[in-house]
Amino acid sequence: MAKIIDRKRLVPNIHMIEISAPDIVKRCKPGQFVILMPDEKGERIPLSLADWDEKRGSITCVFMVVGTSTQKLSRLRSGDDIPVCVGPLGKPAEISKFGTVLCAAGCYGIGAIYPIARALKQAGNTVMTLVDAKANYLIYWEDRFKEISDKYFVSSRDGFFDCKDYIPKVLKDVLKDNKIDRVISIGCTYLMYTCSEATRPLNIDTYVHLNPIMVDGTGMCGACRLKVGDSTQFACVDGPEFDGHLVDWNELFYRRKSYFNDEIRSLCYWEREEKPRKMTKEKR
C-alpha cells in the first residue's frame, strides 16, 4: 500500500501524482522509474520519476491519460491508497560532465527528463532544454526548466510561439547554432525516434529513455525486451536508457501496440461498468 499525497492536472490530459514512498526516495536517481498498480484489479505500469522530496518522503510522477490504468490514476485524490508502488527500478541515467547537453522532451517526458536535466546541470554541464508541445497551453514546468537551463527552446504547432514545427526541425536548428555534445530525449516513442534520427547524421551521442510494456519490472518476464544493436535487452533492468542510434525502432513501435485492441476493450468496459459506480461513490 502506498498513500497518495497529491494528484493534480498539470495541463489537459497530463497529470502529476505525488506518492508517499519513504524508502524509494532515499535511493532513487535520475532516470529511474517505479511500477504502480492503480487498484487491486489494475495493471502494473511503469512511470518515470519526475521528482522527489526527501523531507516529505515522497516521489512524483507525471503521466498522460491514455488507457484504463492512467484513467484510474487520474481520479485518485489525496489520502487514497494504491496497492503497488515499487522501486526505484532500472538503471539511473548516466550523469557526468559531458560539456553541453540538450534535453529534448515532450508530453509526460517533460516531467521525466526534469531530474536528469537538473542532475546534469549540477554535474557542471551547460544544459539546454527543448520542449515540444502541440500548443502553448500544453506546456508545463516552464519555470522549473528555465531555472536549470542555460537555454530554453520550445517547438510547437500553434503559432503562439515563434515556431510551427515538430521537434526534429527545431532540434536541427539548435544543433546548427550550438555545439552540442550529447542529446537526451524522453517522450512518446515517435518523438524519441525522430530526435535520434535527427542527430544520427551528425554523430551526436543520443540517449533515449524507452517505455515498452512491462509487467514485473525486475527482469523476470521479458515483456519489456527489445532489440538494441545486435542483442535483445530487457528495458527494466538493462535500461531504460539506451543509445537512440542502436534501438530497433520498428520493433519497439509494434511491440508497444501489442494490445491496442485490448486496451480499447478495457477502457470501454471501465467506462461502462466501473466508472459510473466510482462516480456515485465520489459524489456521496
Binding site: A2, D23, I24, K26, R27, M37, K41, G42, E43, R44, T68, S69, P83, V84, C85, V86, G87, P88, L89, V215, D216, T218, G219, M220, C221, G222, A223, R225, L226, K227, T232, V237, E251, Y254, R255, S258, Y259, D262, E263, R265, S266, C268, Y269, W270
Partner: protein, 498 residues
C-alpha cells in the same frame, strides 16, 4: 550440488528405527499380514473430467477421501529399512506419517510431516514423487506399484487445514535478533517459518505484490489453488513473521542498507527469475511470450478475467509451447483453458526425456494437448501486423548423452517444415535472477550466474548471508528449495546464537 539420493544420516536412521520399534507400530504391522497389504490396489486420485476441467482454472485433483486415504495407508508395509525416505530430499519420516493415517490420527500425521517439511500441502501436489520417494518404495520393487506417498501427504495437510485446526507450535522466547528473508518463494517461506519458531524476528521482503514466488505467479491454480498458499502465509504471520511486499532488495534497499537497519542475518531466495530465449529470428514478434510472462499475466494479474481485470493476454487459436518441463505443461494447459483450438507442446527430445512430472503429462494428454516430439523451431514469420503467424521447425534425432545424461538432440538436415501458430510460449528454462549479484559487492557469483554457497551450510561469501533454492541451483524444484532452506535456517540459527 546437494545429492538427492544420499545415504541416510546416522541420526535419521536412529530416529526411524526408534519409531519402527514403538509398540503401536508393531501392533499395527501385525494387524494385517504383509501379503494381504501387497494385494491391495492403489487408491486412485479422484479427478475432474478432462473435458470439463480443461475449460476452467479449478483444481484438477480432488484429493483422497478419508476412507481411501486409510486404505492407501494400509498398503504401506512399514518397512524396517524404508527406502522411500532415502528418495525424499528433506528426509520426511514417511512410514511414521503413513502409519498415523492408518491409525486414523490425521492431525498427528500432519504434524509429523511438518517436523521436516513446512509446506506439505504444496509438496503433496507438486513434488515429482515418481522420481523421489515413490521410485524407491519397496512396494514398487515387490509389486510394481508404489504407495501413493504424495497423495497421502496432500491428504493429511488438507485435512489439517480444512479442519481449521492448524497447529501453531510454541515460539521460543524472543532472541532480539533480526533476520531478512529475500524472496517469498517456497525457500524463503521455509526459512521464515523455521527461524520465527526459534524466536528470531523475521521480515520477508518480496518484489511482487503477492507472496509465494513461483507458487503464485508460475504454477496455475488448477494445480495449486491460491488458498493453500494463503493459509501458509497466514500461518507464518501467526508465528510473527512480517511481510514487506513491493520491496526489491538491491533496488529499494541493499543488503548493506538492511544491515544498517539492524538486520543480523540474511537469506537470499530470489529464485530463477530470468527467462531464457532461443535467440532465433523473429522471437520478439507480437504473440511470443516467455513462460514467465504468460503465466504471470494469467496467475498473478488474472488476465483470464480480462476485462474485469485490466491486464490482457493473447488468446491463441493455435498455441504452441516450446519445452518439456513442468513450466511448459502449465503453459500449454493454460492456453487450452483460455480457449485455444489447438494447444501443442513442441519439444526437441522425445517423450522419455521430458522432465515434467509424469502426472502432469498424463493430465495434459487427457485434456487433449498435442505433442510434437523431436522438433525444434528455427525461426518465426509474421503477418502484416507483426503478429506471429507461423514457425519454421526442424526435426531432430537423438545422439550421445550430454552432460545432463539425456541424449543430445541433433537436427536432421532437410527436415524443415512450417507450422501455423498464433501464440508461442517459450518455456526452455530460467536462469538465476542476476539482480542481487550485480548490486551486492563481495557476493560470489558462479559461472551460471548462480549465487555460490558452501553446500554444507548454504553460507555465501558474505558474513551472515545465506542462499538457497533456484538462485543457487538454477531452475530446480520446490522440495530442493525447501531442503536448502532448512539447512540454511539451521546454520543461520547457529550464527545468530553465537
Amino acid at each position: 550440488m546437494g545429492e538427492d539420493r544420499k545415504q541416510l544420516s546416522p541420526e535419521l536412521k536412529e530416529q526411524l528405527r526408534k519409531a519402527f520399534n514403538e509398540e503401536w507400530r508393531k501392533e499395527l504391522r501385525k494387524s494385517i499380514p504383509a501379503k494381504e497389504r501387497m494385494k491391495m490396489s492403489r487408491q486412485d486420485m479422484p479427478q475432474r473430467e478432462p473435458d470439463v476441467r480443461n475449460k476452467d482454472f479449478k483444481e484438477v485433483n480432488q484429493g483422497l477421501t478419508k476412507e481411501a486415504a486409510v486404505k492407501e495407508a494400509m498398503r504401506c508395509l512399514d518397512c524396517a529399512n524404508p527406502q522411500c525416505v532415502r528418495g525424499c530430499p528433506v528426509g520426511i519420516d514417511i512410514p511414521s506419517f503413513i502409519k498415523l493415517i492408518e491409525k486414523g490420527e490425521f492431525s498427528e500425521s500432519a504434524r509429523k510431516i511438518k517436523e521436516t517439511n513446512s509446506l506439505p500441502a504444496v509438496c503433496g501436489r507438486v513434488c515429482p514423487q515418481e522420481t523421489q520417494c515413490e521410485e524407491l518404495c519397496n512396494l514398487k520393487k515387490a509389486t510394481g506399484v508404489p504407495v501413493a506417498i504424495g497423495n497421502l501427504e496432500r491428504f493429511v495437510s488438507d485435512y489439517e487445514r480444512e479442519g481449521g485446526k492448524v497447529h501453531v507450535p510454541e515460539i521460543s522466547v524472543s532472541t532480539g535478533r533480526k533476520v531478512a528473508v529475500i524472496g517469498s518463494g517456497p525457500g524463503g517461506l521455509t526459512v521464515a517459518g523455521e527461524l520465527a519458531r526459534k524466536g528470531h524476528k523475521v521480515t520477508v521482503f518480496e518484489a511482487l505484490h503477492v507472496p509465494g514466488g513461483v507458487l503464485v505467479y508460475g504454477i496455475p491454480e488448477f494445480r495449486l489453488p491460491n488458498d493453500i498458499l494463503n493459509a501458509e502465509v497466514d500461518y507464518l504471520r501467526k508465528l510473527g513473521v512480517e511481510f514487506r511486499m513491493n520491496f526489491v532488495v538491491g533496488m529499494t534497499m541493499t543488503i548493506e542498507d538492511l544491515r544498517k537497519e539492524g538486520y543480523d542475518a540474511f537469506y537470499i531466495g530470489t529464485g530463477a527469475g530470468l527467462p531464457n530465449f532461443m535467440g532465433i529470428p523473429g522471437e520478439n514478434l507480437i504473440g511470443i511470450y516467455s513462460a514467465n510472462e504468460y503465466l504471470t499475466r494469467v496467475n498473478l494479474m488474472r488476465a483470464n478475467q480480462f476485462p474485469k481485470y485490466d491486464t490482457p493476454v493473447f488468446l491463441g487459436k493455435k498455441a504452441v509451447v516450446l519445452g518439456g518441463g513442468n513450466v511448459a505443461m502449465d503453459s500449454v494447459r493454460t492456453a487450452q483453458r483460455l480457449g485455444a483450438e489447438e494447444a501443442t507442446i513442441v519439444y526437441r527430445r522425445s517423450r522419455k526425456e521430458m522432465p515434467a512430472r509424469a502426472e502432469e503429462v498424463h493430465h495434459a494428454e487427457e485434456e487433449g494437448i498435442k505433442f510434437h516430439f523431436l522438433t525444434n523451431p528455427i525461426r518465426y514469420f509474421s503477418d502484416e501486423n507483426n503478429r506471429v503467424k507461423a514457425m519454421e521447425c526442424i526435426q531432430m534425432e537423438l545422439g550421445e548423452p550430454d552432460s545432463s545424461g539425456r541424449r543430445r538432440p541433433i537436427p536432421i538436415e532437410g527436415s524443415e517444415f512450417i507450422m501455423e501458430v498464433d501464440l508461442v510460449v517459450v518455456s526452455i528454462g530460467n536462469s538465476p535472477n542476476p539482480l542481487i549479484g550485480k548490486v551486492t559487492p563481495g557476493l560470489k557469483i558462479g559461472k551460471w550466474g548462480n549465487v555460490e554457497v558452501d553446500w554444507n551450510t548454504m553460507a555465501t561469501s558474505l558474513d551472515g548471508v545465506y542462499a538457497g533454492g533456484d538462485i543457487v541451483r538454477g531452475g530446480a524444484t520446490v522440495i530442493l528449495a525447501m531442503g536448502d532452506a532448512r539447512v540454511a535456517a539451521r546454520e543461520m540459527h547457529k550464527y545468530l546464537s553465537a
